[in-house]
Point group: C2
Chain length 194, copies 2
């Protein structure tokens, strides 16, 4: 029917991710157009604003990260399941270094606090897979879902590995990091749910 698409949404998000890789938080729409070889009009044709563009790229990266969660259910031992959940992060960083860097640009809390135009709903649902996984892990680990149990599991499976890996994101994560990450996750996962 119409003029064929030259810059698809995914093309633009790829370029945005590339621009963030190079300029991190100071990436601009001009950087994206430079990567893409497109004028700014083509960007604004598909995205309401600069913020909506970069937030969309962030959301796509988060979803790709969540896509790894399936395999955790197959791990029998609860503590090991928590540890392996933690290990998903360094693995993701190695497999998708650009998306990993994209992940560090926003915090979920901030985006949800005032969502860029049109992304309110996408952000609403975004964290559900994490919530589900953590609840399931807490349930399996402690036999019930307590506030503290949930907090411990979140700390073990999410915050601890993230903190250890974060300073390196952008560069490759060395293999020797795996052992200490496992050790830290496991130590937290072994704590008692009082």
């Amino acid at each position: 029917m119409v003029k064929p698409v030259r810059f698809s949404v995914d093309d633009i998000l790829d370029a945005a991710t590339q621009a963030v890789h190079q300029h991190w938080r100071s990436a601009t729409v001009a950087h994206v157009t430079a990567v893409l070889g497109a004028p700014s009009g083509s960007i604004y044709h598909r995205f309401a604003s600069r913020d909506a563009l970069f937030a969309s790229a962030w959301i796509r990266a988060v979803r790709r990260y969540h896509a790894q969660f399936d395999e955790i259910a197959a791990i029998a031992d609860p503590v090991q399941a928590i540890v392996e959940t933690g290990m998903l992060l360094p693995r993701f960083c190695r497999a998708n270094p650009l998306d990993a860097r994209m992940l560090t640009v926003f915090r979920y809390r901030d985006l949800q606090a005032d969502p860029p135009a049109g992304l309110h709903d996408a952000l609403q649902d975004l964290n559900a897979p994490v919530g589900r996984l953590l609840s399931e892990l807490a349930e399996r680990r402690y036999g019930r879902v307590s506030t503290r149990g949930l907090a411990l599991v979140a700390l073990a499976a999410r915050d601890t590995p993230l903190g250890m890996v974060r300073p390196l994101i952008g560069d490759p994560i060395p293999d020797w990091m795996d052992e200490p990450i496992r050790a830290a996750c496991e130590a937290v996962a072994l704590l008692d749910d009082h």
Copy 2:
């Protein structure tokens, strides 16, 4: 001799820290002048640029954090010394929440990569206390200073607690966090220096 100072360097840094507390990375010079009740000229009279201002406030916060390091030498057991080094961070966040938030605005690596006008030297020396402390801890823990040993100690005493605490910085760090932080630090500190 001259006109008395109405806005000292420390006053301005306090205001910058306050502005960062409210606006985080998007804090502007105008936000600082609003807190301080001073015109922008008074800010630029003492600081070469916006970046130099905020970086100076960051450096002051880092130095205050380093000021806690002295007491670690007194701890006899090496592993415990590493764990207590890790615990300095949550303690600092509780005692100086505004400076803690300031700490999250820059990364040492980025600032050193291109230092704001006039801060090159200050940044050069800034990390020395950390380097000294970590070397000392690695030496005590493993009886020698290996690359891997140093990396493990850095991970245990610095990155792990930072990662666990980071998502909460800005809000108060709850007391129940101490136990998991200790557990994670200790687990990493107990790993072998191959």
